[in-house]
């Protein structure tokens, strides 16, 4: 009886708590996301999908200029690099205060934050490459951080330490005082917003930090940012239509409907890139499979020529993208000529490679976010390949199963759809996707590794760019993947939202969204 009463009381408490949820008002910006990934708030306790709600809380050493793609001052006012590119010295902005009275941001906080992100226990995306890259961190005074590298990285400020990556600066004193578990639930950063409330995998409410005078970035225009997890895309669009949300990623099929409903559609340009990876193309030990038909470059080229990418962009993505010659959008690769749609050339190359009647392969595919369209892309690709003689068996699996096979080296004898993401530092992208060391490499040859190593070691900007272009050209000519498109990611947006400058899919800048003209001030 007592247990039953307790249960009833708990339910009643829930019902009362339910009524406490704030309704949308002009000073609140509500963002509906498909997932929070996981509801943790320390930079090193999860992946980059959390950046939408972490970036308003934390600051970064450098901030990427959305217009130029180059790094500008963040917590670091300036920085210098040694002649050999192995020593970076950052000078910190003075007087920046952590939230909740945890004092000034100092070099000790920066060193602590970087070390936590690169620690073996870290769940952050760049943990592994950072461990290989950073040799030691020195803090000669409260406002100077010296980072010693194991090898040159001329793009450190643009890459791992900028706001498109995951090294948000936390208060070392705070985490030390309350412990990691408590700090994970109640984060303390130096950004303009602080956590107000969260319900795991359901709702996160941020409010402008209580000590507003200590906001050093531009003052936020919305008093509250509310993030709601809404996995179903139709529900998210309905939330926009009813005014329950102001911003939500949407499907390409909903674009016309959303516009007809009087809502705006804003797209993150070149947010992700559908691509087909081919197993067994990493020429390193057991990961290489010479027996695959696509081990022959002519076959891989044929697989690229066979696909009408323009039709895929128009029909599946409603024109939101452009044909690609690479798996991620890199500025130095923008002029690479994509493989044109040429089925005759594809058949000719297959014949030259010894496959006049084509061959059979398995194409695995999955849905992800963004990337719900990957199975549809797989069907289109299969039809185009069938037209030139490549018979395709499509297998729908879940992403984790594929990751398991990929990282264990078992994904050698089939091909799979995947999504490429933009990196503000092309070098970071190469390290993840094409370096032989990376378990997520999809293509690597000794020649490519030489080029990547040369690019990594080169400090002269012009020569670096030339080497990067060579790498892109090599990957394109060798058809390291089946490149399809760089796709924009559409968001449904309410009339409350004015200027919204998006740096990239990894830096959405919700905290800097400007109220639309005519909307009431807070």
């Amino acid at each position: 009886m007592r247990a039953a009463l307790s249960a009833l009381l708990a339910l009643a408490a829930l019902a009362v708590a339910a009524c406490a949820r704030p309704r949308a008002d002009e000073s609140t910006l509500i963002i509906a996301l498909p997932t929070f990934s996981d509801s943790t708030f320390l930079p090193w306790t999860g992946g980059g999908q959390r950046k939408g709600f972490l970036d308003p809380i934390y600051d970064y050493l450098c901030i990427i200029n959305p217009e130029t793609g180059e790094p500008g001052p963040g917590l670091a006012e300036s920085w210098t690099t040694s002649a050999d590119g192995k020593v970076w010295t950052f000078s910190l902005r003075k007087g920046v205060q952590f939230q909740r009275g945890y004092g000034e941001v100092t070099s000790a906080d920066v060193a602590y934050s970087i070390k936590q992100v690169m620690s073996p226990a870290s769940r952050a995306g760049p943990a592994s490459p950072l461990r290989r890259l950073i040799k030691s961190i020195e803090t000669p005074d409260a406002y100077t951080v010296i980072i010693n590298l194991n090898r040159p990285d001329p793009e450190l400020a643009k890459g791992y330490l900028a706001n498109a990556q995951q090294v948000g600066i936390v208060s070392a004193k705070y985490v030390g005082e309350v412990g990691e578990r408590a700090a994970n639930a109640t984060p303390v950063g130096s950004g303009p917003y602080q956590l107000d409330f969260f319900r795991r995998d359901s709702e996160i409410r941020l409010k402008v930090r209580e000590d507003k005078a200590n906001i050093w970035r531009e003052a936020p225009q919305f008093e509250r940012l509310v993030f709601l997890a809404a996995p179903e895309v139709s529900t998210r669009v309905a939330m926009l239509k009813t005014g329950e949300a102001d911003i939500a990623p949407m499907s390409y099929d909903d674009i016309d409907d959303v516009r007809q409903a009087g809502l705006q559609v804003r797209s993150i340009p070149q947010s992700w890139s559908p691509v087909v990876r081919m197993g067994g193309l990493v020429q390193e030990g057991a990961r290489y499979e010479a027996k695959n038909p696509w081990a022959d470059v002519r076959v891989r080229q044929a697989m690229n020529y066979a696909i009408d990418k323009d039709t895929i962009i128009r029909r599946i993505f409603h024109g939101e993208g452009r044909i690609a010659a690479s798996d991620t959008p890199v500025e130095a690769w923008a002029d690479l000529p994509p493989y044109p749609y040429d089925p005759a050339k594809a058949r000719q190359l297959l014949t030259e490679a010894g496959y006049p009647d084509g061959f059979t392969l398995t194409l695995k595919t999955f849905t992800t976010n963004p990337g719900a369209e990957l199975p549809t892309v797989a069907q289109a690709v299969a039809l185009y390949w069938r037209a030139v003689g490549i018979k395709v068996s499509i297998e729908l699996i879940d992403w984790t199963s594929l990751r398991t096979a990929w990282t264990s080296g078992a994904a050698r004898t089939y091909v799979w759809t995947h999504r490429g993401f933009p990196f503000t530092s092309a070098q970071n992208g190469l390290e993840a996707g094409f370096e032989a060391k990376s378990l997520f490499a999809s293509y690597n040859t000794p020649q490519l590794q030489v080029l990547i190593d040369a690019h990594s070691a080169e400090l002269d900007p012009a020569k670096r760019r030339a080497l990067l272009t060579d790498i892109g050209q090599y990957l394109r000519d060798q058809a390291g993947n089946v490149f399809i498109a760089h796709i924009n990611e559409p968001y449904a947006v309410s009339s409350k939202v004015g200027d919204w400058t998006i740096t990239s899919s990894n830096a959405l800048n919700f905290e800097h969204i400007v109220r639309a003209p005519g909307q009431a001030a807070q």
Partner: protein
């Protein structure tokens, strides 16, 4: 009655033990959580270190006995995700939300299904019976994901009567509760109707009428009381399903219940959470079956006699 409860509890322990073995092994056959956690550019050395950190470098039997040893002390392990929360804590955080939704659904299903089923049986062959049968057919054949989206479109987007989704007020629970209730409502209508039709033609009902009892007394005190057993059995099992198996409804309505936790943990191969969810579900089923037995015994003196 005590013997009945003790027997059921003994059976429950065996069921939980068997279920723990099955879930433990099956979860590990489907994929590797290390692959989920590895970041960009991770190497073979990173993978080996993470495998060791998660204890997945040991053989399956060793892993199982470590798990069992901890489980017997009430520790079902921690999530592999960021804050490494205790797995059972994650389940218990979600359970009240699922319980709330399932309870409201149950009230709707019983509140509409029982009177409608009785009315359909009493007025067999007439309009109310036809309406009830059509509702039952629709309720059991309409997919919840479709119904949920239609309800959102009509009642939230077009009419603005309710919120589309999420947890946070009475106007957010109505639509998911109706979506969830419809299937069980349809089943209740069918079960009550068929049982009542049988009861209304039985000898004891004829006797009640011959004794001059009013028609409402005949229907509710005699026919209905004997017709309610199949519904109790059905709802006992189905209530547990409503609490734990509402993945589709929780996804459409962004409801933070156990179903979504189960799905997310399966997709991430978060073994500790999968195990905690399944063990919680199993316990819930066992508890509901026990509750059904006790309700049967309370309603039916013959069951009480048999248990003595």
């Amino acid at each position: 009655m005590t013997r009945l409860i003790l027997t059921r509890l003994a059976e429950a322990l065996v069921s939980l033990l068997l279920m723990s073995v099955v879930v433990f092994m099956l979860a590990r056959l489907t994929g590797d959580p290390v692959a989920v956690l590895l970041g960009d550019g991770a190497t073979q050395a990173d993978k080996a270190a993470l495998t060791k950190e998660l204890g997945l470098d040991k053989s399956l039997p060793v892993q199982y006995f470590i798990f069992l040893g901890h489980a017997l002390q009430g520790d079902l392990g921690t999530s592999i995700m960021g804050d490494k929360s205790p797995a059972m804590q994650l389940v218990l955080e979600r359970l009240p939300y699922s319980l709330l939704l399932a309870s409201v659904s149950l009230i709707i299903a019983l509140g509409i299904g029982v009177p409608l089923g009785v009315a359909a049986a009493v007025h067999r062959g007439r309009a109310v019976d036809t309406g009830a049968r059509v509702l039952a057919l629709l309720g059991q054949s309409i997919p919840p994901f479709w119904l949920g989206l239609v309800l959102i479109y009509v009642f939230a987007v077009q009419l603005g009567w309710f919120r589309t989704s999420g947890f946070g007020g009475p106007d957010r629970i109505v639509l998911p509760a109706i979506t969830m209730a419809l299937f069980s409502l349809a089943a209740i209508v069918r079960l009550i109707r068929s049982s009542m039709i049988e009861g209304l033609t039985s000898e004891y009902v004829k006797l009640a009428r011959a004794k001059g009892l009013s028609e409402p007394a005949v229907i509710w005190e005699h026919a209905f009381r004997n017709s309610v057993f199949p519904v109790v059995s059905f709802m006992g099992a189905f209530f547990a399903t409503m609490i734990t198996g509402a993945v589709v409804i929780e996804t459409i309505f962004a409801w933070p219940g156990v179903g979504r936790l189960a799905l997310d943990s399966i997709l991430r191969r978060d073994f500790a959470v999968i195990q905690a969810v399944v063990l919680a579900i199993t316990t819930l089923y066992i508890a509901m079956n026990l509750a059904v037995d006790l309700i049967h015994a309370w309603l039916d003196p013959r069951v009480r006699e048999a248990a003595r």
